[in-house]
C-alpha cells in the first residue's frame, strides 16, 4: 500500500486538487478585482452561463466541432493506417512526415492556418484563384459556416495522425493466419475488412474515439488562434467560451469554472454511456 503513496500524491496534487478547487470556485464570486472579498454565491454562475442567450449555440457548436473532427480524423487515420500496414521502402521517413503535425503546438498551427485561410493574402485562396476555381478570394472567417469548416479542417489535419498511429499498432497485432484462413474461405477484400480487420481493431477504435472526444472537447487552441470563437460566436465551443470569460469578463474565474464543471459533467455522461453501450455490444458478440 505504501508503494502507492507517491502515485496517489502526484495524481492528487495535479488532478484531484485542481478539479475540486475548480468545483468550489464555480460557486464563488472569484474575479481578480475582488480577490479579497470572495464569498459563496450559490448557483449564480451556473445560472448566468445557462441563461446566456448564446449557450444553446455554443453547445451546438461544440457538438459539430467534435462530431466532424473525430469522424474525419478516424476515417483518414484508418485509411492511412491501412495504406501503411504493409512494409515499403522509406516507410519510416514517410510515417515521420505524416505524423509530424501531431508533434506541433496547436496554437502555432492555428496561427499558421489562419494566414493560409486569409481572405486577402492567404495561400489557399491564391491557389484556388490561380487554378481558375474561384474568381476572388473566399472570406473564410466572415461566414459562420465557412469559419467552422476551416477550423474543423485544421483539426482533422492535426488529429488524424494520432488515429493512424493507434490503428496501425492494432493492425500489426492481427495474426496473419486469420487473413490466410479468410482468403482460403473465399473472402474478398471488403469482406476481410469487415469480418476480420474491423472486429480486431474495434477495441482500439472505441478507446481512441473516446480519448479523442475528450481531447477535442477540451481543445480550444486551434479555434482560439484562428477565430477566437467568431464570427458572431459561430465557432465558439465550450472551452473557447471558458477562455473568453476569463479574458473578456474581468478575469471572472468563477464563471469560467462553472463552464469547466459543465464540460466535465458532459464528458462524464458521455464516457459512462459509451462504456455501457460498448460493453453491452461486446457481451452480445
Amino acid at each position: 500500500m505504501a508503494l502507492f503513496i507517491p502515485t496517489f500524491s502526484v495524481i492528487g496534487f495535479l488532478t484531484i486538487y485542481p478539479t475540486i478547487r475548480g468545483f468550489i470556485l464555480s460557486f464563488q464570486n472569484y474575479t481578480v478585482f475582488n480577490i479579497r472579498r470572495i464569498r459563496y454565491i450559490g448557483l449564480q454562475n451556473y445560472e448566468r452561463v445557462l441563461q446566456s442567450g448564446d449557450f444553446g449555440l455554443i453547445l451546438w457548436n461544440t457538438f459539430v466541432w467534435i462530431f466532424f473532427s473525430v469522424l474525419f480524423q478516424m476515417l483518414l487515420g484508418l485509411g492511412l493506417a491501412l495504406l501503411m500496414r504493409k512494409p515499403f521502402k522509406g516507410r519510416g521517413i514517410y510515417a515521420g512526415f505524416v505524423f509530424y503535425p501531431w508533434a506541433l503546438s496547436g496554437f502555432a498551427i492555428g496561427l499558421i492556418w489562419r494566414w493560409l485561410f486569409d481572405g486577402s493574402f492567404g495561400i489557399i485562396n491564391d491557389i484556388l484563384i490561380r487554378l481558375g476555381i474561384i474568381e476572388r478570394g473566399i472570406s473564410f472567417f466572415s461566414d459562420p459556416v465557412l469559419a467552422m469548416v476551416a477550423v474543423i479542417t485544421v483539426n482533422i489535419w492535426y488529429g488524424f495522425p494520432f488515429f493512424a498511429i493507434m490503428i496501425l499498432a492494432a493492425l500489426q497485432g492481427i495474426p496473419q493466419d486469420v487473413y490466410e484462413s479468410a482468403w482460403m474461405d473465399g473472402a474478398n477484400p471488403i469482406n476481410t475488412f469487415f469480418k476480420v480487420t474491423l472486429p480486431f481493431i474495434r477495441p482500439v477504435l472505441i478507446n481512441t474515439v473516446l480519448l479523442r472526444v475528450i481531447w477535442v472537447m477540451n481543445y480550444p487552441d486551434i479555434i482560439y488562434a484562428m477565430t477566437r470563437g467568431g464570427p458572431a460566436k459561430a465557432t465558439e465551443i465550450l472551452s473557447v467560451y471558458m477562455i473568453n470569460i476569463v479574458f473578456y469578463e474581468n478575469n471572472n474565474f468563477s464563471k469560467a469554472s462553472a463552464v469547466g464543471v459543465i464540460i466535465i459533467s458532459i464528458l462524464m455522461v458521455f464516457t459512462t454511456f459509451t462504456y455501457l453501450v460498448t460493453n453491452t455490444k461486446r457481451m452480445e458478440l
Binding site: V32, F33, I35, R36, D118, G119, S120, F121, E135, R136, G137, S139, F140, F141, S142, P144, T227, R228, G230, P231, A232, K233, N244, V246, F247, Y248, E249, N250, N251
Partner: protein, 417 residues
C-alpha cells in the same frame, strides 16, 4: 578640511553602494513585443551601469495575456517593483488597492513640469490621484497612402467622414482594392470614433455621454453613425476584415489593399520599418456631420505596487526612463507620442511630416475634441466583449442597428454612467 570632505564623500559612496547592493527590481511590461523588449532592455542597461548593484529583471508576457498576468500577479502580491499600467488597466488595479499613490514622487519631480496638456489629467484619471507616471500618449489619427490614392486621381486625405466614404467606395473594386482598413476584432475605439463624429456635444469626460448627460446610444444621431459605420464595411472594406486585428489592418495598409487606416502612433514604428519614407502620411481624423471628431487620449505609464519593498529605487528608474533622451529614444523606436514637451522641441523627428496628423489635431482642440472612456467603470472590461460580439452580428446582418443601440444603452444604464 579636504580630508574630511573626502572621507564624507567616500562614506556616502560606501553607504549608497551598501544600500543598493544586490537589489533586484522586478518589472513587467504589458505591450510586449521583441522590438519593444529590446528598447526597454537598452534603457535598463544604461540605468544598471549608473547604479552598480541594482539589477532589473524585465518580465515580458505575450501581449494577449499580459493584462491577465499583471492582474493575477498583483492580486496575489507576487514580487514586483515596477508595473506598466495602461489606461484600461488602471482603474482595476486601483480598485484592488495594489498601486502606490505616486503623488509624493510626482509633485517633487522636475519632469512633471514639462508634461504636455492632458498628461496631468491622464495620470490622475482615477480618484484624482496619480498612481502612474505616464511614459507615452496614444491618440488615433488617419494614416493614408498618397501613392495608391493618386492612382485614382485623389489628392490628399479625406477631411470628412462623408468624403472618406466617397473615396473608399470609389476605389473599391471588390477584388484587390478596397478603401478602408476595417477593424473586426476588439472594435472599441474604431466604431466609437465614427459614431461619435455624428455628434457635436460629446462630454469631454465621457465618450458615451452628451454634455447634457444623455447616453449617446439613445440619440438618433447614434443610429446614423452606426449605419454609416456598417456601410463602410459592406461597401468599402474587405469581407474578411470582420476578423482583422492590428496585424491584419496594418498588413492590408502596407500592401496597399486598403490605403486608409485609423491607428495609434505605435503604428509609425512598424510602418517606418516596412515602407520607405514618404510612402505613407498622416492627416487629422475626418470630421463627421457634427463638424467634430472625438479622439480619446490613451496613455500608458509606470506604476509601483503598494507592497513593493523597493519603492524609492523603483521611482529612480521610472524617472530615469522618462528623462528626455531616454523617453525620446523609447517613443521614436517604439512609436508613441512623448509626454515631455521638451522632446517635441529638441528632436526633429517629432516635428517631421510623419506627425502632421497629430500636430494638426492638437492645434485645433475644438474640432478634434479629446474625450475619455469610462474606464473607471466596473463593467468596462465586459464592454469590450459585448461591443465586439454585437459588431460581428451587425456586419453579418444578424442584428439590426436599432437593436444594437438598445443593447448598448441598456448596458451603460445598468453600469450607471
Amino acid at each position: 578640511m579636504r580630508k574630511t570632505l573626502l572621507t564624507l564623500v567616500l562614506l556616502c559612496v560606501l553607504f549608497t553602494s551598501i544600500l543598493f547592493s544586490n537589489t533586484t527590481l522586478r518589472m513587467i511590461q504589458v505591450f510586449a513585443s521583441p522590438e519593444r523588449t529590446k528598447i526597454i532592455e537598452n534603457i535598463i542597461e544604461k540605468f544598471e551601469a549608473l547604479k552598480p548593484g541594482v539589477k532589473i529583471e524585465l518580465i515580458s508576457p505575450p501581449y494577449e495575456t499580459a493584462v491577465s498576468k499583471v492582474n493575477i500577479m498583483m492580486s496575489n502580491e507576487e514580487p514586483l517593483d515596477i508595473v506598466e499600467v495602461s489606461d484600461w488597466l488602471l482603474s482595476g488595479l486601483v480598485s484592488m488597492g495594489v498601486l502606490e499613490n505616486l503623488e509624493r514622487y510626482i509633485t517633487r519631480s522636475e519632469q512633471a513640469k514639462y508634461w504636455v496638456d492632458g498628461v496631468v489629467e491622464a495620470a490622475r484619471t482615477v480618484n484624482n490621484t496619480a498612481y502612474i507616471m505616464p511614459n507615452a500618449i496614444y491618440v488615433k489619427t488617419l494614416f493614408y497612402r498618397p501613392d495608391i490614392l493618386e492612382k485614382y486621381n485623389i489628392l490628399g486625405a479625406p477631411r470628412s467622414m462623408g468624403e472618406m466614404m466617397a473615396i473608399c467606395q470609389y476605389i473599391t473594386n471588390g477584388r484587390d482594392q478596397y478603401g478602408y482598413s476595417y477593424r473586426g476584432i476588439d472594435p472599441v475605439n474604431f466604431m466609437d470614433l465614427v459614431l461619435c463624429s455624428f455628434f457635436n456635444d460629446i462630454d469631454p469626460a465621457c465618450m458615451y455621454k452628451t454634455t447634457s448627460g444623455k447616453i449617446i446610444f439613445e440619440d438618433p444621431r447614434a443610429l446614423e453613425g452606426l449605419k454609416f459605420y456598417i456601410e463602410l464595411y459592406h461597401k468599402a472594406s474587405p469581407k474578411d476584415s470582420i476578423s482583422w486585428g492590428f496585424d491584419e489592418q496594418v498588413n492590408a495598409f502596407v500592401s496597399g489593399l486598403t490605403p486608409i487606416l485609423f491607428q495609434d502612433p505605435d503604428t509609425t514604428a512598424l510602418l517606418n520599418y516596412l515602407l520607405t519614407t514618404g510612402v505613407y502620411k498622416t492627416a487629422p481624423l475626418p470630421v463627421g456631420p457634427g463638424g467634430k471628431v472625438y479622439p480619446t487620449f490613451g496613455f500608458g505609464g509606470w506604476g509601483i505596487p503598494s507592497y513593493s519593498k523597493n519603492k524609492d529605487i523603483a521611482w529612480e528608474f521610472i524617472e530615469f526612463f522618462n528623462l528626455p533622451e531616454n523617453a525620446a529614444y523609447f517613443c521614436k523606436e517604439y512609436g508613441a507620442l512623448p509626454v515631455d514637451s521638451r522632446i517635441y522641441e529638441s528632436d526633429p523627428y517629432f516635428g517631421s511630416a510623419v506627425f502632421d496628423g497629430w500636430a494638426a489635431m492638437f492645434d485645433d482642440p475644438v474640432t478634434y475634441q479629446i474625450t475619455a472612456y469610462p474606464i473607471d467603470n466596473e463593467l468596462w472590461g465586459e464592454w469590450f466583449r459585448l461591443q465586439g460580439d454585437i459588431q460581428e452580428r451587425l456586419l453579418m446582418n444578424r442584428m439590426t442597428p436599432e437593436r444594437a443601440l438598445q443593447e448598448f444603452t441598456n448596458f451603460w444604464k445598468d453600469a450607471g454612467i
